[in-house]
């Protein structure tokens, strides 16, 4: 095997070990009332962070492109209580339309 192949396998092993780490935190620690307060705060923060990364970033840059239109369209769909799948499709459609019409990159 080439040297690069060994690094690929090593990185895969490392990624898996990191994933396992979270599961090794003792249940008694996770179950404490403090941790459940931390967890509920963390949940909202993580989801908001994922939205931000997916909507406004490209590598290490903050960018405004068709995805902000997708975000706005999805929020409108959510305000009108659209089902989840419709929200996702509205997001995709908004990005396609904005690019096709040249309104956004």
């Amino acid at each position: 095997m080439s040297e690069l192949s060994w690094w690929v396998l090593g990185a895969c092993l490392s990624a898996y070990a990191i994933k396992l780490c979270g599961y090794f935190v003792p249940r008694t620690v996770l179950d404490s009332p403090i941790m459940s307060h931390v967890a509920s705060t963390l949940t909202v923060a993580l989801l908001a962070s994922l939205v931000t990364v997916n909507a406004f970033t490209s590598g290490q840059e903050l960018v405004i492109d068709a995805r902000i239109g997708a975000l706005a369209a999805a929020i409108i769909a959510l305000i009108f209580k659209a089902p989840y799948l419709v929200v996702v499709l509205v997001g995709a459609l908004a990005a396609i339309v904005l690019r096709a019409t040249g309104l956004a990159a």
């Binding site: 979270g22 949940t43 993580l46 989801l47 068709a66 995805r67 929020i75």
Partner: protein, 239 residues
């Protein structure tokens, strides 16, 4: 059928398709970066965490050392450990399931699970998104690696817009009062501030650390969840 297509499984399937198709661009870019077919397939099957995979091939294609690619990929994967803690706390998996559940503990499966209100739905959401993304991501990685750039850019199909909508759709139901809205807005601002100054993937981790610190500082003011009287005793110890 009623049990198969619950809101959580629908969310899981939608996000699986939106994310899985991105495997095409990973496969194509990995080959273009100079990795061979088996290395490309191994990254999706074994590493299976998109951000880290893109970081690994990004370093290689930029002419960087394999050890640097290893470090970048590992660093970006650290947020999965935070996800693992969240999943362990909410799903309470049996020990024998942990080895494979850990492998599918990624952005999408965690987000779909955390986005649900009740326990059974959290479970369905995690498994549908975890397994769904795993299967599609690997299939489309192979397709991308074999067909290369003929497949084009997934952004042209609006998939990046679908991903944004998928995540806001999971966050939205949680924004029921002022407190979560403030947390969400703060998290978005912290993430945006961290993006230009840190490697991709790290802003999420940094935001998680800030949120955890904030939660620890405000825990006394939180409505007392004193099921076991433990919060009270900890408070007394601190005084």
């Amino acid at each position: 059928m009623t049990n198969l297509l619950t809101p959580a499984t629908k969310m899981g399937l939608s996000i699986s398709i939106a994310t899985g198709l991105y495997g095409i661009s990973f496969g194509a870019l990995s080959i273009a970066a100079g990795l061979n077919l088996w290395q490309t397939v191994a990254l999706s099957a074994l590493m299976f965490t998109g951000g880290s995979q893109f970081a690994f091939i990004g370093v290689i294609s930029g002419g960087g050392a394999a050890s640097a690619a290893f470090s970048a990929a590992s660093l970006l994967g650290v947020r999965n450990a935070v996800y693992g803690m969240q999943i362990k706390q909410t799903l309470r998996p049996h020990g024998r399931h942990v080895p494979w559940m850990a492998q599918v503990t990624i952005d999408e499966s965690t987000a779909v699970s955390l986005g649900q209100a009740d326990g059974a739905e959290k479970r369905r959401g995690f498994f549908t998104a975890g397994i769904g993304v795993y299967v599609l991501w690997n299939l489309f990685t192979l397709a991308g690696a074999l067909l290369g750039e003929q497949m084009g850019d997934p952004a042209a199909w609006g998939l990046d817009g679908a991903a944004v909508a998928a995540f806001i759709g999971l966050l939205w139901p949680r924004l029921t009062s002022v407190q979560p809205v403030l947390i969400a807005v703060s998290a978005a601002v912290v993430t945006a501030l961290a993006v230009p100054i840190s490697a991709p993937g790290l802003p999420i981790l940094f935001t998680a650390l800030c949120a955890a610190a904030y939660a620890l500082f405000t825990v006394r003011k939180a409505p007392a969840a004193t099921e076991h009287g433990r919060l009270r005793s900890v408070d007394e110890e601190q005084q």
